[in-house]
Structure formats: C-alpha cells, structure tokens
Point group: C2
Chain length 266, copies 2
C-alpha cells in the first residue's frame, strides 16, 4: 500500500504558524481530520518555524493532533532533542523526518534512532553537496541503509528520499530521480522510497500538473510513498489511478470506490 | 522526440465512416488540419470498415489527407494488397500499421515490407494468444525485431507495440506493460515502443484519466510513441509534461511554449 505522508501541519506555512501562535486548536483539529479523511497514512508535524518555541509548539501540536486522528505521526525536525521530547509524548510508533549522510546530522540522529520503535526518512545527501547523477543517489542510499541496519533498523522501516532537484536547474533532474528510485527499489529490496516531490517543479509555471505527472513516473519506477497534501484532490486522484495501473488495487476496488465517491474524474 | 500517431481518421468511427461514404472532403480536411496543429507526428489512416470498399476509400482518403497536411501517414490495414495500393499513392515514407507474429499476418506482411522505405508497428502477438507475462511480450518483441532485421529493416524504423490488455481483466496488465516496455527499450537498443494505450481502461469508468496516467507510467519505462487523439488537450498536456520530466525538453522550451499557449494547466 502507498504511504501518504500528509504535509500540511508545518509551521513554515503562514496559516499553521498563526494557529500555533494563537493556540488555535480548532484550526489544527479541523485540518488533521480532513487530511485523515482524504487518505493520509501519516500526519507530518513540523514545529520549527518559531525560533526558540519548537519544544513547546511541538508538544502542543502533538496533543491537539492526537486528539483529532488515530493516524501515526511523522515527527519532522532536524533536532534530536526535540524528537526525543516528541517521541515521549506520542501513542504509536512514529516516522522520523529525517536523517541524512551529512556528518553532523548523521552523528546526531543515529544515537537517537538506535533502539527506537519507529520508521525513518533517509535523505540521499552527504557532505559533498547535491547529487549530480542517479549513481550518486543510489550510493548514498546504500550507505545510509547500511548505517541504519547497523544500529538495528529493519529495511521495511526505512523510507529513502532520493532528494528531488528542480528540472528548471537541470533538464535531467526528473529522469535522474526516476532512475534512482528504480535502482534503489531493485538493489535494496524491502526498502521504501518517498519524497517531497514538489521540488521538481520549482521555478516553473503550472507546477501542480508537473508534480502530478512526476508522481506517476516515480510510481512507475517503484515509488511507494510521498510527502504531499492529501487535500489536493487531483494529486490524490492520480495517486489512486497510479496504484490501479501499478497492479496494487485488486479487482480495481479502491479505484471504483473513489470513482463512486466522485473523487476521480476524467 | 515523442512520436504521436493521430488516430482519428478511422472508418470504424461513425462520423469518419459517414464522411467517407459521402465523400465529404471538408470533414476529413478539417480533422486532419486540426490533428496536425495539435501536434501529431503521423496521421493514421484506416479505411477498413466499409466491406468491399477499402481500396477505393483508402485511395480517396489518401488524396484528401495529403492535400490537408505535410505530415507522413500511418497506413492502417491488415491487407498487404491495400497497403501496396496505398504505398504507391503517397508522397513520403509512411509507417505501416501493423505486423505481428501471427503466422498468417507475418507471412503476408514480410514480403510487402521487404525493400520498402517505411517504418512499421510490430505487435507483440503470436499464434499462442494474448501474452500473460512481460517475458512473453519481450520474447515476442525480440523475435519480431529479428525477423524484420532479416529482411533489411533498421531498428530505428521499428515501433514495437507491447499489446495493451485491460486492467479490468487482470490487475497486473498495467504493470506487465510498463515492465515490458522497460525491458524492450533496454534489451533492443534503438527500437521504438508505441501502442494504442486506451485498451488499458476498457471496462472501467473515467477511462481518460486512466489512459493519461498510464501514458506517463509507460513514458517512465521509456515509451517514445503512442497512437492517440492529438485533439484531446488533456492527454497532450500530460504528454508534454512527461517529456519535460523525462529530460527530453531542453531548457523546458516546449513546456513553457505550451503553457504560454494555454495548452497546459495545473
């Protein structure tokens, strides 16, 4: 099953920041209920925007969100101290967003992850900067999966993020990501792949159609998770149609149910 | 560049049949001009619906169409006699639609194709019936390409059609086709892949969104041609976006041009 990480509870979004500032629980509750109804598998929680307030904001958000949904959470912070506080406050095994091979981040995150009951997003990025070839991404993925396995994590708990770069910067960035996902899913059997796909369209007009088309091409490569807005009807429609085509929808049940609900239209 | 074979001039479509019956050149001219303007690379011509009239209808259609467009034609008939007549009446090297490994068709088509200046669509189908696994499709492709090379055809003139079967019949039919295209493009370097993709959605509702999503997933596998309706704005929009993502649109020029022309909308 495709894992949808709902990206809406992020304090870098102005409305969310405002709601957190005002401790507007209704706003957060309402949003999370909608993300849940629209088919999120995880709710991402990022409380990092208000400098000096991350711990308090995260605690408040977690309490409100867990009152609004039974979904597991995706704890989104680069700071293991914040993650430790958050981890102690939640009801079910979370996803951690994220670790990478950048030395500082790696050294901070590995001790946090060791022995924890969680899934993790592993960003294909190291100290050498942005990957320039799909081999760079695949090598990064192999190294980081190895390091996570060394501390006892299971492959099926690792969600590799190939680190999407904009097509406007290099025409090959889309094909590079598709190729990388294909190889990662072949060479690291059992692992998942995910990502915040919208970076692909940065700097271009009509971004949403690019994001939708990219999601489908990544799914053809084996992508089985994405960080996205579950309240975007059109991307959810192509996601369900992509699952149908990928052979992950026996007897077309989910597709037909969504058509009947008016969620998928030609 | 992606090869779009415009499928609209087909006498199995009621309006086209009527226009052919009445020798309504305006209707055909108008349609072909539109297909050309919308981005067709070839115009498919199928005159097979009116029993006993195929030769005359084909000749009339070819004359009218060639008066309306400078595009090359895709001659769509199972009958080498008709194809021979058509081949003698056209201005530029056509595509022939199609050959397969079914014994009767193969034996009739190989002598026709030998020595001709043309491209050909090669259907992955033999006497054993419909393929059940992507390996069946790939093996069919290898055999048919070998037979075409034996009579002197070049790989770059062969458009392999993996023979799309409906997802409603078997949930794996979409994934099978994507996998087949991927392997064909890897193992038979230089060959093209194409197909009438809409068969994928047969028996399901909201067929057009399925067809569009399928086109993108096939493009991720390497598909570089399709038989479709160039006047369907939405499929042409995802096609152009797919080309952008696949890295076949340097500096995003075509995408940006289409956005400016209002042809691509989020």
């Amino acid at each position: 099953m495709f894992t949808v990480i709902g990206e809406r509870i992020n304090t870098t979004l102005e409305k969310v920041k405002e709601a957190v500032e005002k401790r507007d629980a209704d706003y957060i509750t309402n949003d999370v209920k909608k993300q849940t109804a629209c088919g999120a598998t995880y709710i991402d929680v990022n409380a990092g925007a208000r400098i000096g307030c991350e711990a308090d904001d995260m605690k408040w958000l977690l309490d409100v969100i867990q009152g609004a949904t039974d979904l597991p959470l995706c704890l989104d912070s680069p700071d293991p101290k914040i993650l430790e506080i958050a981890y102690g406050r939640i009801d079910q095994a979370p996803m951690i967003n994220s670790i990478s091979l950048e030395t500082d981040r790696l050294n901070a995150m590995l001790p946090f992850l060791k022995g924890k009951d969680c899934k993790v997003i592993a960003l294909c990025m190291d100290d050498s900067g942005l990957p320039k070839h799909s081999d760079d991404i695949v090598n990064c993925a192999k190294t980081i999966v190895e390091k996570l396995e060394q501390i006892g994590m299971k492959r099926e708990d690792i969600f590799v993020d190939p680190l999407i770069q904009p097509i406007s910067v290099d025409a090959n960035n889309g094909a590079m990501a598709v190729e990388a996902v294909k190889t990662i899913m072949q060479d690291l059997k059992g692992v998942h792949t995910t990502g915040g796909l919208s970076n692909i369209s940065y700097g271009l007009p009509q971004r949403k159609i690019i994001n939708r088309c990219f999601l489908l091409m990544m799914m053809a490569g084996g992508l089985d998770s994405a960080i996205l807005d579950p309240m975007d009807n059109k991307i959810m429609a192509v996601l369900k149609t992509g699952e149908l085509i990928a052979g992950n929808d026996s007897f077309c049940m989910n597709f037909l149910k969504s058509v009947r609900a008016g969620e998928i239209r030609s």
